[in-house]
């Protein structure tokens, strides 16, 4: 089936104007390849992330189970389970899942052939009142066991108790994506944990994007302001779960879930501020439920997203004029952009080099649920988009938790429903 030619344009464009500016040539420009799909794995429990070896071996995480690996033979080895899990060759009894937290991101070391390192982001109770860690593991030769666990980051905040917020249970806004960039630096995305002090804090490393080496040490040039933790690459984030690197420049670009409004795609610069600051008493706000203004005003009831954005901006350019401007804000709506990758290779045709963003779908206050994968054509400077189109899915949609391009050039998509798909351009 040919790709659907749905184009999301800026809301300021009237429909009539859109018709006038979308001639056949522009539509042809958005034409992507015909897609087919296969189900790689099914009946998983909240599959959260994947990472590949060059031969197609696929490590994957399930939030409340742990880390496993799918071998090219089709066999699956369960490697590291969270506490109380069965069937794994080892378990971390301190590892747990709660709400959005659990075993989240996974990454393979660029020098895996030499060091056999894989990394996972997981909640752990080794630190009171619970926290998130980045674990480095050594995988044995036949990919049946992991050993030599080293916690290279052990101080990522976690939300331990429920608060009076939507989705206010423990484990909320937990971040969790880990990715190596082309230079071999490890990026770690963290969430604000519904704690208003976290995003702009110089020392609490929630609401941040960290850039570290394989030992957890900061990378020179992270450029965070004086007094900030040197591991911080960017700060002032709400809950980044999608990060990918532009194929031509290596620049990191994040996809972030907005608060009842404004899902954002932002090209990051070292030391940048994402402009998220949900503290009471800031930017004209008064008190907020349990000291967190992130869903205000009127956090539990329907309201115009634009009015919300004016009161509690996702990127507050009035308070922080130098904050990183988003390239795209999903037409001011929040539908849960949560995963990101770049497509690369001639097999993708016009989509070669485009960003793909997975949306989980959140229908609140009249916003369409919007489960989908968007194809994003970022402007060269990363400060705007040339266009955003919706992928015509060759399978049923789902909550697109993770998107990764595999070594075979195909796009792999994990959905919370329990499937991992392989999407192949024809």
């Amino acid at each position: 089936m040919p790709s659907k030619l749905l184009t999301w344009q800026a809301t300021t464009l009237a429909a009539t104007a859109m018709a006038a500016i979308l001639p056949a040539a522009a539509l042809a420009q958005n034409q992507g390849p015909t897609l087919t799909h296969e189900t790689v794995l099914s009946d998983l429990q909240d599959p959260w992330d994947m990472a590949f070896l060059p031969d197609g071996t696929m490590f994957f995480t399930e939030k409340c189970r742990g880390l496993s690996v799918l071998l090219p033979s089709g066999d699956v080895n369960a490697l590291l389970g969270i506490g109380g899990s069965d069937g794994f060759s080892s378990t971390g009894e301190d590892l747990f899942c709660e709400g959005q937290a659990g075993m989240n991101g996974v990454a393979v070391d660029p020098d895996f052939d030499e060091n056999r390192f894989v990394y996972v982001y997981s909640a752990s109770n080794l630190t009171e009142p619970g926290g998130n860690r980045v674990l480095r593991l050594v995988v044995n030769d036949d990919l049946s066991e992991v050993s030599d666990r080293t916690d290279i980051v052990d101080d990522i905040p976690y939300k331990p108790v429920a608060t009076d917020q939507p989705f206010g249970g423990p484990g909320a806004h937990n971040g969790g994506r880990i990715r190596f960039d082309p230079e071999g630096h490890l990026f770690v995305t963290t969430g604000d944990t519904h704690n208003a002090e976290v995003p702009q804090s110089p020392t609490l490393i929630g609401g941040k994007v960290l850039r570290i080496d394989r030992d957890g040490e900061p990378i020179e040039g992270n450029n965070a302001p004086d007094g900030f933790d040197p591991r911080i690459f960017t700060y002032g984030h709400r809950n980044v779960q999608g990060i990918a690197f532009r194929p031509d420049t290596g620049q990191p670009v994040v996809a972030e879930h907005g608060p009842w409004h404004s899902d954002e795609i932002t090209a990051l610069v070292a030391g940048g501020n994402g402009g998220w600051d949900p503290r009471p008493g800031e930017a004209g706000r008064g008190e907020c439920p349990d000291g967190y203004c992130g869903y205000e005003p009127n956090q539990m009831d329907e309201m115009n997203p634009q009015e919300r954005a004016e009161y509690m901006p996702m990127t507050d350019l009035n308070t922080y004029p130098d904050a990183m401007k988003p390239a795209w804000n999903n037409n001011g709506l929040s539908q849960g952009s949560v995963s990101a990758a770049f497509l690369s290779g001639e097999q993708w045709g016009e989509w070669d080099g485009r960003m793909v963003v997975g949306l989980m779908g959140i229908g609140f206050g009249g916003t369409p649920v919007g489960q989908r994968i968007d194809i994003v054509d970022l402007a060269e400077d990363g400060l705007s988009v040339n266009n955003v189109t919706e992928m015509a899915l060759p399978m049923e949609s789902g909550r697109f938790r993770s998107l990764v391009q595999g070594p075979d050039g195909n796009l792999y998509a994990a959905i919370d429903e329990g499937d991992i798909y392989r999407i192949t351009p024809e």
Binding site: D46, Q165, F364, G365, R399, E417, G418
Partner: protein, 107 residues
């Protein structure tokens, strides 16, 4: 035809009892509604996803009670903001059908 007295008495007792039975649930209608309105958060098989709780293993009374609470605007748990607008649109029949489908299929 003469109806024996005892039988007539039984019939007289039975008719009101039948009339008071709630309408039978339309499980097929519940299935359709679940797929369109519930599955995106609670999962295709009701086991819950991410921040959204499972609905599997719940009996009809529990499900009807919760849906009625949300329909009435009560806050029950951290996702009430999402559930209340959904439940507000449900009729008694919808709640009966949905609850019957979930209880019968997601154990």
């Amino acid at each position: 035809m003469k109806i024996p007295t005892g039988t007539a008495l039984l019939l007289a007792l039975a008719v009101p009892a039948i009339a008071q039975e709630p309408p039978a649930a339309d499980i097929a209608a519940g299935e359709k509604m679940y797929a369109s309105s519930c599955a995106r958060c609670h999962g295709r098989t009701g086991r819950g996803m991410a921040s959204f709780p499972p609905v599997e293993g719940k009996d009809v009374d529990y499900l009807v009670g919760r849906l009625e609470q949300y329909r009435e605007g009560e806050n029950v748990g951290p996702n009430s903001a999402l559930m209340k607008p959904v439940a507000a649109k449900l009729s008694d029949e919808d709640i009966t059908n949905l609850s019957a489908f979930i209880a019968a299929n997601f154990q």
